[in-house]
Symmetry: C2
Subunit: 208 residues, 2 copies
């Protein structure tokens, strides 16, 4: 079994199970059944068992899963057993929301640099970081490599930013720009498009 | 064939094709091949033809698709042939980014009301709208119904906000809060979780 074959929808559910487990641990629960995880994750207990079975054997029949153990396993599976250095290109509203969101650092994501092309924004303090001129991007990433780059620029410049990051060895990009980035096969891109999220809603409204 | 069976990944690609076509139209192109659409949409021409075949017969062998015609068809399929009234609950950074994003109104989404529970935010002007007290939500939506509600609140209150919206007849919710909302079957919920997007990246980094 190769991990490559795991569907993104499965990975998303694993993330949701992890969130539920964190809540259960905070409430002092030791074990949890697949039924309860399913109800909180918006799926069925059969789906929970199937999702977890991809990664080995968890839980005991009739006893459920150990909250703490499953939490640890899911963190490992999701690659959350370490911290990640994140650089943000584009100091707009979305970038600002990310930088100020305490959940990111809690979950292991450290925003280490922010870049913008707008002279008005360069030099401003953002949550303890100064916005840097995007001209310094190559030098900055060479000196302090980033594990993940978030691109929040206009569509016209997003591909050239991605190209620069890829040339500097970046292997993971979260793209908010409204274009499909072209990257080599060994680079992972996740495209977040808020207008597109609205369109999956309007499609559903129209076609139900 | 029921529309219900169309996978969300297909709908997302249709949205991307539409974006490409809009770009081609702006460049003055009359026709486009499935190869070109595929390259711009990050997929294969076979996939483009398959995606479009769900909805009828488009294009002519050897001639490609008419840019303008396919654009119109995709708008209709995606439910973009009309305008939508959008209410936002939670006047934080993400809400602010949505309200100020010109692309939304261009694509037919009109943000008609913003609500917050924070007295410091209530009454502030946001892009021509005043932030309203969330206590007024029920009355406001009764007077001026919203087609889509965007929930950008803390997780603890998101479900109660969703319940109120559902009771008021809202059929589509875009949820940014970090919980899985429980809603009746006839309500569509799309969950956007930015931390979760990062976790699909870390999973891919760890498991490739």
């Amino acid at each position: 079994m190769t991990m490559r074959k795991i569907a993104e929808s499965t990975v998303r559910r694993l993330s949701l199970y992890l969130r539920c487990l964190e809540g259960f641990e905070a409430q002092g629960l030791d074990t949890v059944s697949s039924d309860v995880l399913a109800a909180r994750g918006g799926t069925t207990s059969a789906q929970v068992r199937k999702d977890l079975s991809f990664f080995g054997s968890f839980g005991k029949r009739g006893l459920g899963y150990s909250v703490r153990e499953l939490e640890g396993e899911l963190r490992t599976i999701l690659g959350l057993g370490r911290r990640y250095r994140v650089a943000v290109i584009g100091a707009g509203k979305i970038g600002s929301a990310l930088v100020q969101y305490p959940g990111f650092s809690q979950r292991g994501f450290d925003i280490v640099a922010i870049f913008d092309a707008d002279a008005q924004k360069v030099g401003r303090a953002w949550n303890g970081l100064n916005v840097r001129n995007v001209r310094e991007l190559d030098q900055a990433l060479r000196e302090e490599p980033a594990d993940i780059v978030v691109i929040v620029t206009p569509g016209e410049v997003a591909q050239s930013m991605a190209d620069r990051c890829v040339a500097l060895g970046v292997k993971a990009i979260l793209n908010f720009a409204p274009i499909q980035l072209q990257v080599p096969e060994d680079v992972v891109v996740k495209h977040v498009n808020l207008a597109l999220e609205f369109e999956t809603l309007t499609f559903a409204l129209k076609n139900r």
